[in-house]
């Protein structure tokens, strides 16, 4: 009886190699050895600017982690950014309204925001009514968010996570009411809408870099660099494979199909 399903051996090997490179960089960072720096990500730099602007205007910050479930990597990335945003809002006494489409995500988000307020010593300022579950329905959630943006004087709109068709509804309404908007998603079909309607857009994997970028913790940075190594290896495979396929050599393709 085979241990590994046929056709998946190469995939497993590549995934293990990727994970090992990430773990190696993490270990390197833990030992205090130097890890490469990462480039500027304008959207993440703008988080402080957006919250600051809402603070100056006495307005509200709205945060949406998208409509994905908790098993979606983008939602987890959104939760790590939410911690930072909530802490910053708590520090500056800026009202944060955090909306959710999923019940499980709502319970996690409530805990994150409560913890953020506690970490800056403002537990009393935390209002559980400002972390809201709106609707499980995609457009029910969208219409709820739009209503909140209009009614609650939202001037900083942060949309990071897994979005689908409702993305343009949020982004366009935010633009119409004059909010500064920072959006990010790894759903390629929604990136163009965020680019068109938002002030800052995080493309694809930039949202996964957020926790490393915002905290600059060596361990998280190491993980990010390991991820980039994996990407470079992928690019190398693509180039070598393309050249070989052009020369009608299927050796690499057959190897990867094992």
């Amino acid at each position: 009886m085979t241990l590994i399903k046929p056709g998946l051996v190469a995939t497993l090997v590549l995934e293990l190699a990727f994970c090992i490179s990430v773990v190696m960089l993490i270990t390197r960072a833990r030992k205090g050895l130097k890890v490469p720096t990462i480039r500027k990500v304008a959207g993440l730099d703008a988080l402080d600017e957006a919250i600051g602007r809402a603070t100056e205007m006495g307005a509200t910050v709205h945060y949406s982690p998208g409509i994905g479930a908790v098993d979606n990597a983008q939602t987890l990335a959104a939760m790590s950014i939410l911690g930072y945003v909530a802490k910053t809002c708590a520090k500056y006494d800026t009202r944060l309204i955090q909306t959710n489409r999923n019940n499980v995500v709502y319970s996690i988000a409530e805990e994150i925001v409560k913890q953020a307020y506690a970490e800056v010593g403002k537990s009393d300022a935390f209002n559980p009514d400002d972390v809201r579950f709106l609707s499980e329905d995609q457009f029910g959630y969208a219409s709820g968010c739009v209503g909140i943006m209009h009614r609650e004087k939202v001037r900083a709109n942060i949309l990071i996570g897994a979005f689908w068709a409702e993305s343009l509804i949020f982004a366009e309404v935010g633009a119409q009411i004059g909010s500064i908007q920072i959006a990010g998603t790894a759903n390629t079909h929604q990136i163009p809408f965020f680019i068109a309607a938002c002030d800052y857009a995080l493309l694809g994997e930039e949202i996964y870099a957020a926790s490393a970028y915002l905290t600059r913790e060596p361990v998280l940075m190491g993980c990010l660099i390991g991820q980039d190594w994996g990407k470079m290896a992928g690019v190398l495979l693509v180039v070598v494979g393309a050249v070989m396929a052009t020369m009608k050599n299927n050796a690499l393709r057959d190897l990867l199909n094992k």
């Binding site: 056709g7 994905g68 995609q138 457009f139 689908w164 068709a165 119409q176 390629t188 079909h189």
Partner: protein, 270 residues
């Protein structure tokens, strides 16, 4: 010119779309190769084959996906290909019923439970497909969307799992959707399939078409209109093409207006 009130844009859009439906222009629609590939693949299925349709969309996808679903159903019934309808989305069963409500009267000689069946939505997302690969009745908890015991329906005497499918079609507006069908059904079981996706999802599914993991692709409402013409049954998608044409032209005109104003302003400031 560069700062047209958005309400004017909205009013013009409404007028243009309504006009297109009231006074259709009947512009010719050429059939793309991708749609032809999907159509030919389904058309080549021998009589008695089983095609599985995944209704992985909600009400928002109706204009773009439902016409293709009806056209495919029509094609299969004409060719005596059986259809199993299911879905990973909550509205799957209702979306399939909408198709059946219109199509059943056209085929009085076809019987529910024998020639076609609507399993409907069952919870589990991609897990539903994984379980259905081994045992579709178990995965669906032995009950279809109409409340019938699936094990008593004749269609399931031969169709025990997704392994028995000869072709699959995923009608999808998001996740779970096409990648799950490819990952769980298409690639491992080597069962060919195609998809109809909303226009905004076409770019992200093109890599699957190029790699051969999808046999053609029905591209949004335009693809659905092409499919309706291929089965000789022009319907809502064809009717919607004029509205799509005019709305695209309106958007381009406004973009042109904005750019003319932008360039004129740039010229003035030097």
């Amino acid at each position: 010119m560069g700062n047209v009130d958005r309400r004017i844009i909205y009013v013009v859009m409404i007028l243009v779309v309504v006009y297109a439906f009231v006074k259709p222009m009947g512009l010719p629609i050429t059939i793309s190769q991708h749609t032809k590939n999907a159509y030919n693949a389904i058309d080549s299925l021998p009589a008695g084959s089983t095609l599985v349709i995944g209704f992985d969309f909600s009400a928002g996808g109706i204009p773009e996906l439902e016409p293709a679903a009806k056209a495919i159903f029509y094609q299969c019934m004409k060719n005596n290909v059986k259809i199993v309808m299911m879905g990973m989305w909550v509205m799957a069963g209702d979306m399939a019923e909408r198709v059946l409500t219109e199509m059943e009267p056209l085929f009085p000689n076809k019987t529910y439970g024998v020639d076609y069946v609507n399993i409907g939505y069952k919870p589990g997302n991609a897990l539903l497909l994984e379980r259905a690969v081994d045992d579709i009745i178990g995965a669906a908890l032995d009950i279809d969307h109409r409340g019938n015991k699936m094990s008593t329906l004749p269609i399931f005497q031969e169709f025990k799992s997704l392994k028995d499918a000869d072709f699959w079609v995923c009608l999808s507006t998001g996740n779970p959707g096409v990648p799950d069908w490819i990952k769980i059904v298409g690639d491992p079981l080597k069962i060919p399939g195609t998809t109809d996706v909303v226009s905004v999802s076409i770019p992200e599914n093109m890599p699957f078409v190029q790699s051969g993991q999808l046999t053609g692709i029905i591209q949004g409402m335009r693809g659905a209109s092409e499919y309706e013409l291929l089965v000789n049954r022009p319907g809502r998608a064809v009717a919607g093409m004029d509205a799509q044409s005019l709305s695209h032209v309106v958007i381009l005109l406004f973009i042109a207006l904005g750019n003319i104003s932008f360039l004129m302003g740039k010229k003035k400031t030097g």
